[in-house]
């Protein structure tokens, strides 16, 4: 699977290549000294690529590295689709620095050593100018040393626990404080919530996030407290006991960070146990529109999710993005928070390369802070010097049709703060 180069969309790629070839013919047959069309529009290759990346006079190669097989394929499919859409849109508008983007897709196969191996292949053998990929923190931790050793550039789309910063990574999703704090403030102010019950799957992201949530609830808000905290092994399917426990404690807010197949079991059993989400406030940071496909809208309607993007967001950028995504990947596809964050990656890289007038990794890393993308479906984003994004936090309420109603957004962009003081 992995090795083939695919030009999206495949049908028109051949035609475009033919046209390019035909356009180049007269130029080539004319006297030397006449520069070709492509070169006139674009700066010379030697100027934009001084470190031997896969950049030619009319093309630049990037990598896409996600799981398309294995357990994580469920989650990572949307990111792959968004990245391919972004690349094809950039190519349709003339590419980056006058060069068309080719991509090489590799399959991380939901296996972290495989991610590291494929990352090395993309950087060392294919000389990719940028790599868009990874989803779980575990896969990112596995490829991080590779990107730092071979000096590559990774655009990482998932909201994650923070506590990381690298010259070689741009984090296009939210770090934990961006996702948690504004949501807790909102639910306390709006719902008068006093007591919180924290739930999570048992691994680093939910545990770190709940730790931040607990610190915020106990130390930074007034009169609020945590009345329970529980973790479940990944893939846990029986939640009746904890649901009973919550019925006893009666928290104002259930704060749930449960992932994967467990999510489906949790919400189905919550509903079956007679917990009515229109009366019981439940806030989650782990359920996007993608997850609702599996959970079923009728089982989660009424829950609040704290994200930076919802498919139903009303703005001109999103009004163009959603139809374009559906045109490429089918009318039934849904777009979750991470899918949108993955879509930002290629555009941020393009804007950075144009700002730096170079594909060199060091120059891209140095030029990244301050790069702003006004066409983002979420509205507007800007890269912070710590390589995370400034972005707004939004609260959505789940509807039965699997979409969210956006009911709150922060007035200002939230500053990314991967090493939050007072929250560790």
């Amino acid at each position: 699977m992995a090795q083939d180069r695919i030009d999206p969309p495949p049908s028109s790629a051949l035609r475009r290549r033919l046209l390019q070839g035909m356009a180049a013919l007269p130029a080539a047959s004319l006297a030397p000294g006449l520069i070709s069309r492509a070169a006139r529009a674009a700066p010379a290759t030697a100027a934009v690529n001084s470190t031997g990346l896969a950049v030619t006079d009319d093309a630049v190669t990037v990598g896409i590295l996600h799981s398309i097989t294995g357990t994580m394929a469920i989650s990572e499919t949307g990111s792959v689709e968004a990245e391919k859409l972004a690349i094809s849109q950039i190519n349709a508008e003339g590419g980056v620095l006058g060069r068309k983007i080719n991509f090489i897709q590799e399959d991380g196969a939901s296996d972290w050593p495989t991610f590291a191996e494929k990352a090395k292949k993309l950087l060392v053998k294919d000389k990719c100018a940028a790599v868009f990929g990874c989803w779980t923190s575990a896969s990112r931790k596995a490829v991080l040393p590779v990107f730092e050793q071979y000096n590559g550039m990774l655009y990482y789309p998932t909201f994650y626990e923070g506590l990381e910063q690298s010259k070689n990574v741009i984090y296009t999703g939210q770090e934990a404080t961006q996702q948690i704090i504004a949501g807790l403030d909102w639910v306390t102010k709006e719902k008068g919530a006093k007591t919180f019950y924290l739930l999570g799957s048992d691994y680093i992201w939910p545990r770190t996030s709940n730790k931040i949530a607990r610190k915020h609830i106990e130390n930074h808000m007034k009169g609020t407290r945590v009345v329970g905290e529980d973790y479940f092994p990944l893939g846990h399917t029986q939640f009746n006991s904890v649901i009973n426990k919550m019925k006893l404690v009666k928290p104002d807010v259930i704060y749930a960070i449960i992932v994967g197949g467990s999510n489906v079991a949790f919400y189905k059993q919550l509903k079956a146990a007679g917990v009515d989400l229109s009366k019981q406030t439940l806030m989650t940071i782990s359920v996007t529109e993608d997850e609702i496909l599996g959970i079923g809208g009728e089982n989660i309607a009424g829950a609040y999710a704290c994200m930076k993007y919802f498919q139903s967001l009303q703005n001109p950028n999103n009004a163009k993005f959603v139809p374009a995504f559906k045109a490429m990947w089918g009318e039934k596809s849904v777009i979750g928070d991470v899918t949108q964050a993955a879509y930002l990656g290629p555009f941020l890289w393009k804007l950075t390369a144009e700002k730096a007038q170079s594909f060199d990794i060091d120059k891209i890393a140095a030029a990244s802070p301050g790069v702003e993308f006004k066409g983002a479906p979420e509205g507007y984003v800007r890269i912070h010097p710590n390589h995370h994004l400034w972005s707004k936090t939004r609260v959505g309420r789940a509807r039965t049709d699997g979409q969210y109603d956006v009911i709150y957004e922060t007035a200002d962009l939230m500053e990314p703060n991967p090493f939050p003081v007072g929250y560790q």
């Binding site: 398309i68 097989t69 294995g70 357990t71 394929a73 469920i74 499919t77 048992d202 905290e229 529980d230 973790y231 479940f232 092994p233 893939g235 846990h236 399917t237 029986q238 009746n240 006991s241 904890v242 649901i243 009973n244 426990k245 019925k247 006893l248 994967g260 197949g261 467990s262 999510n263 489906v264 079991a265 189905k268 059993q269 509903k271 079956a272 146990a273 007679g274 993608d290 997850e291 609702i292 496909l293 599996g294 959970i295 079923g296 809208g297 009728e298 089982n299």
Partner: protein, 308 residues
């Protein structure tokens, strides 16, 4: 943790918690029964058990789509047809697999582990290619979701009641089939001494195929029932396989009664501990005690005397 709650509160929670334990017990029995037949009676280490379950879940998913599109009037009862179809689909696939793969390996039981593990990977990728990598949402009739009020405070999940009823039904049927019917006598004879059974005129190949099919079929029913409480995705079967083997091995592989007893012990222990500790801790403690008990009693809780 019980300070400040009224007796009424505690009583109703106790009742609901007891019921939660019974539901977990039914879930364990349902998923382990098929494997108890295949692993216990036939000695085949069926690593693809979870995938047979998920086949049942996907059949239920297809049924829900078909009924929603063509027979919306009968949507409220589609689930019962789905369970029967799930049994047939998983059972038929099981018989085909037995014919193509398993029957060549009866003399090498450890190799069945590898073969069925490979089979589980193949099936996962098949589901992924057909249904997509993402989870599918199985829409259930409205009456099956939600809960019924016994008192103002005690709420009993309806899907839990359905799982319990289904488990009782299947267990009874298996009991009658294995211990009361002539065919069951043949199955037990083949388990106890294949050569002798063959010598007295039992068609052991046919018995093997039907037994394997029955085990897989029950797995399909379990998968179909679990769409009420869990997720349906190509790899969801993996969520159940550890618990399933745990129950069967702990109970003593060859004893159906043992399987039920061990499902009861494990489910009650876990459900109680989850209430007082956290989910992860409960899992750890249950696994530790099972390991401990199996060290003292490697053959499991119940043992049948058989000639080897």
């Amino acid at each position: 943790m019980f300070m400040g709650y009224s007796l009424g509160d505690l009583g109703s929670i106790l009742a609901m918690q007891g019921f939660a334990g019974l539901v977990l017990f039914s879930v364990f029995v349902l998923m382990a029964l098929g494997l108890a037949i295949i692993f216990g009676q036939m000695g085949v280490i069926n690593m693809a058990h979870g995938e047979f379950m998920i086949l049942g879940a996907y059949v239920t998913f297809l049924c829900s789509r078909l009924f929603a599109a063509y027979l919306p009037g009968a949507f409220a009862v589609y689930f019962f047809l789905a369970i029967i179809l799930a049994f047939c689909a998983s059972g038929l696939l099981g018989m085909a697999v037995e014919w193509a793969l398993i029957r060549h390996l009866y003399k090498r039981p450890l190799d069945t582990l590898l073969a069925t593990w490979g089979l589980s990977l193949i099936l996962q990728q098949v589901y992924r290619s057909i249904f997509g990598a993402r989870e599918v949402g199985v829409e259930l009739p409205g009456w099956m979701m939600g809960s019924t009020h016994l008192t103002s405070q005690i709420e009993i999940p309806i899907n839990g009641l359905i799982v319990m009823a289904l488990t009782t039904l299947i267990t009874l049927a298996v009991y009658l089939l294995i211990f009361r019917a002539g065919w069951g006598r043949q199955v037990r004879a083949v388990t106890q001494n294949r050569a002798m059974a063959s010598a007295v005129g039992i068609d052991t190949e046919r018995v093997d195929r039907l037994t394997y099919g029955l085990g897989c079929g029950i797995a399909g029913v379990a998968g179909s029932a679990f769409t009420m409480i869990g997720s349906t995705s190509p790899t969801a079967g993996q969520l159940y396989i550890v618990d399933t083997f745990l129950v069967v091995v702990f109970g003593g592989a060859q004893s159906l009664i043992g399987t039920i007893a061990s499902a009861f012990t494990i489910s009650q222990a876990r459900s109680t501990m989850e209430f007082f500790l956290s989910g992860s801790m409960a899992q750890v403690l249950v696994l530790l005690s099972v390991v401990g008990i199996l060290m003292l009693r490697p053959q499991g809780l119940f043992v049948l005397k058989i000639r080897r």
